[in-house]
Amino acid sequence: MLKGLKMSGQGIILWSISWLGTQISVATGLPVPGNVFGMILLFVLLLCGIIKLQYIQDAADFLLRHMLFFFIPVAVGLMNWGAVFYQYGVILLLALVVGAILPLFAVGVITQLFHKEGKQCRG
């Protein structure tokens, strides 16, 4: 009972930040999603110590653990798109595979390169 109350309280904090993020997105008119602003906002609030990790971490961990659930109702919308996969499946697959391998390589090489240099500087 007490645990449920605590979770709800923490959930309300997260919900408020999410709401604020959406408001920032609307107010600035930038085409950046509200949840991106919300995440940055929470990160900054945590860094400044205005929100302590223990105020939100139970609810955040719970929601993150079950985050996959929220994607299911969204992905069901796929039933409207069967024809596209039938017609363009090969190109889509090609795009996804090449579009995964190239950046994988790029991020790895760049990070490794600069990471090494950083080490040398410190050494």
Binding site: F43, L68, V76, V109
Partner: protein, 228 residues
């Protein structure tokens, strides 16, 4: 008050999720994908029961109510690993930034050359960001959230199976570099695999995933305006 059919469809969706989750933990195989499996089950039930998609929409709105707070919660792993961001800030930002641009440009050019409809191209651009970001990015830029979610998950599944062996073949051996590559390209699914390889890879991947989400959300509208 939600109608009976809405309540029924919500129960179906939750059951499909719990069942797929059970299978996932039982078999521990990247091919048993919770979202793809549950989604197929729900679609199968809608089709077999001759229930139109429109009947599913009210339940959809109710079920995604908590997605906003959950996404905001992504700041928590980012905050827990803030020391990595401090320590490798430049390397990570450069790597993730360049990687994100390459990822977006590649799919854009290939699908454009293939003559795909504009709505589909916009939906595939954010395929490497975390699903909740991709959904919103697609919606705001004129794409389709469902398509985006599936492109993200297909990418995540592919990279979680082949990403680490590919990185080894590319001679990328540093834990930090391996983690940030996995997180940038394959979001949460890549992070789960990176975590199996090691704690530092996992944390790094989580940080890269958050950054990639921010970069993608800022760059997508720019790309859509300039190139589409």
């Amino acid at each position: 008050m939600p109608g009976l059919i809405t309540i029924f469809l919500i129960i179906i969706t939750i059951s499909a999720y719990l069942f797929s989750r059970f299978l996932y933990f039982k078999y521990q195989n990247p091919f048993v994908n919770i979202v793809l499996l549950s989604t197929s089950m729900v679609i199968a039930i809608l089709v077999l029961g001759d229930i139109p998609y429109q009947a599913y929409v009210p339940g959809q709105d109710i079920m995604t109510l908590l997605l906003g707070p959950a996404t905001v919660g992504l700041a928590v792993p980012l905050y827990r690993n803030r020391h990595l961001l401090k320590q490798y800030g430049l390397a990570i930002c450069l790597g993730v930034g360049v990687g994100t641009v390459i990822s977006m440009m590649t799919v854009l050019l290939i699908t454009q050359a293939g003559g795909l409809p504009r709505e589909v191209i916009i939906s595939i651009i954010p395929k490497s960001s975390s699903t909740p970001f991709a959904i919103e990015i697609a919606r705001m830029s004129g794409g389709d959230p469902a398509l985006s979610a599936v492109f993200v998950i297909v990418t995540g599944t592919f990279v979680s199976i082949l990403g680490l062996p590919l990185l080894t073949r590319f001679k990328i051996t540093h834990a930090v570099a391996r983690g940030s590559a996995m997180g940038t390209v394959a979001h949460g699914q890549g992070t789960a695999m990176a975590l199996l390889e090691g704690g530092q890879q996992g944390s790094m991947s989580g940080v890269a995933m958050g950054l990639a989400g921010v970069f993608t959300s800022v760059l997508t509208p720019v790309m859509v305006v300039l190139l589409l």
